[in-house]
Symmetry: C2
Subunit: 171 residues, 2 copies
Amino acid sequence: MPNQPASDDLTAFCCNHDHHQCIDQALNKAKTLCKEHCARLTPVRERVLELIWQSHKPLGAYQILEQLARDGFNSAPPTVYRALEFLLEQGLAHRIASLNAFIGCAHPERRHQGYFLICRHCGSAQELPAETLTKPLKQHAQAQGFKVESETVELSGLCPNCQASTQDPSR
Amino acid sequence: MPNQPASDDLTAFCCNHDHHQCIDQALNKAKTLCKEHCARLTPVRERVLELIWQSHKPLGAYQILEQLARDGFNSAPPTVYRALEFLLEQGLAHRIASLNAFIGCAHPERRHQGYFLICRHCGSAQELPAETLTKPLKQHAQAQGFKVESETVELSGLCPNCQASTQDPSR
DNA sequence: GAACTGTTCGTTATAACATAACATTATTGT
DNA sequence: ACAATAATGTTATGTTATAACGAACAGTTC
């Protein structure tokens, strides 16, 4: 039986982690950070953060909007895009360009660009802890005289679970 | 004075290359490859390829559509998306996810994922010759048990020319 | 060259993603 | 309490992408 991972470990592809803990922790970190930065984590913003943490699958803006509507929040597109913009600015969420979707950030305390692994089968995504790749990437760019300001690195494929399930002949 | 680069070198950020040569070469390569692969480079497809080669700036589908309309081609969205789909399949074009845009591929003869440098100031993009990064990327993913099937690597920032022009106080 | 088959294209409609612009309400600092 | 700023509500629209179905075309077989 796999170990229960430490609370801020990589958990997306781990079937049996305590996901409530992920959510709680994310919300707590968010509250702390926003307080520190004098940023206002209003009810909509908090709820949107909670929603993108409901699973480790990136959510589209309109999926979020649907949920907000159910919760009785205002539900016009600007509402969700504003909340997302705030969360992105605060480093509490990331945008996945290749999916037009958003996902909560597990490490908002240190500002970073997310490198993502995205499972094409189950839709889960997790950040790839690959700070070591930043330097070579920037160096290659530098060799072309190019100055990198932001990075989009999204690797799509099959997560461990889905590698097993897709080779299952029953599928 | 900078050298004239060899014909299939990196040229996007080089101000004074002969761009007609880029286009000609791309179209010739496309014809050859399509013949080899028994793929039909029909008039619309060829024209779309030519259009995304008009500059080194990635083009949006609707920009392409506008041009097609001017040329008297049918101009409903499916037309351009079908042509683009074909070009992507044949490796003749790449999609830039972070821009929702498309750009011609200078090296269609060997199938690859493009790693892109995208200038936020002038809009030009060029492929980063960084095959050496593929292995480390995949290894990091592998370490998480993840099997990479496709890669989106897009670095945004300032190209050599725009680094100069944006620090120019006249801007 | 007629009939068959699969591919490409035309056409209409709509889905999915995102922002502009401006009015209103809430919060903060004085 | 007041003014200034930030956040939200609201309406409308812009942008990107695909579904679905029928017509035209190209290649293949007889």
